[in-house]
Symmetry: C2
Subunit: 136 residues, 2 copies
DNA sequence: GCTTGAGCTAGAGCCCGCTCTAGCTCATAT
DNA sequence: ATATGAGCTAGAGCGGGCTCTAGCTCAAGC
């Protein structure tokens, strides 16, 4: 099947601007086909790749990294070790990011518990007394 | 104890530029004290707060959100429900972010497994045959 | 024939969170 | 006395990733 850029945008949740931008940045593997009037025509495969990229972006992968991966894929078979290295590197980045997030999350959860407790006591005691400081 | 901005930077891993920037942006709770020559003098409490902020930033909290929280703390006790709401909102943001990361991570891990398998077979078979495509 | 809608390009603009620069003031060490 | 080092302010610049604009081309419908 063939799709116009607008349809692809609608399907993937990206803007048409973003799609054109990604193309300029070399994020797509096969060059997007154009029709008689110069308009982009996306295939199902193209959409699959766009969706893959969208998910990688959501996972915080920089456009640059996606472009590098696309470059390898574009060059065809033979560079599997390079692709694997790239993927592993980003696996680690994501894991590091998640670790940082979970530190932050547990800090916030801790504070949430404290405030919930204070509030519960507050409604019980009706008064705020001198609040425990400790960097709030 | 009292610390110069350089010491604080060294201890927290932030740059002196970033610290000054954060102050301008209202991220700090008490206004930072100045010495005779107009230089910032940080207390241990200040450092504690800076470290808290640093961790929140690492967890992806926007400066603006931290500033909002600092505003509430600065106003003193009485707005605990607001603080709690702010914290809960960011708890949810972090959870959402982690969910997105984990989707990306599992996609990448899946691909890593595929490439590892291909490579293992490759070293066994010495040849790359026609590779299974499926959007690489 | 004319409008409407989708698409095109090149390039400007924007937001965030710094980072860097210029030009200055102090305190201290030599 | 002067050189070094830390700090100061105001403001410019930057990188990433879009987003938006201007000015254009087409194709279809009325």
């Amino acid at each position: 099947m063939a799709y116009g850029i607008g349809e692809v945008a609608a399907r993937t949740g990206l803007s048409v601007h973003a799609l054109r931008f990604w193309e300029r940045e070399g994020v797509f593997v096969g060059p997007i086909v154009r029709d008689g009037g110069g308009r982009r025509v996306f295939s199902d495969d193209d959409i699959g790749w766009v969706e893959l990229c969208a998910r990688l972006r959501e996972a915080g992968m920089p456009l640059e990294a996606i472009r590098a991966y696309a470059d390898l894929v574009r060059q065809g078979p033979g560079n599997e070790p390079d692709r694997l290295a790239l993927l592993r590197a980003h696996q680690e980045r994501i894991e590091a990011r998640m670790a940082a997030l979970s530190v932050g999350l547990s800090m916030i959860s801790y504070k949430v518990r404290i405030y919930e407790k204070r509030l519960a006591e507050g409604t019980a005691a009706t008064l705020w007394a001198t609040p425990p400081a400790s960097n709030d």
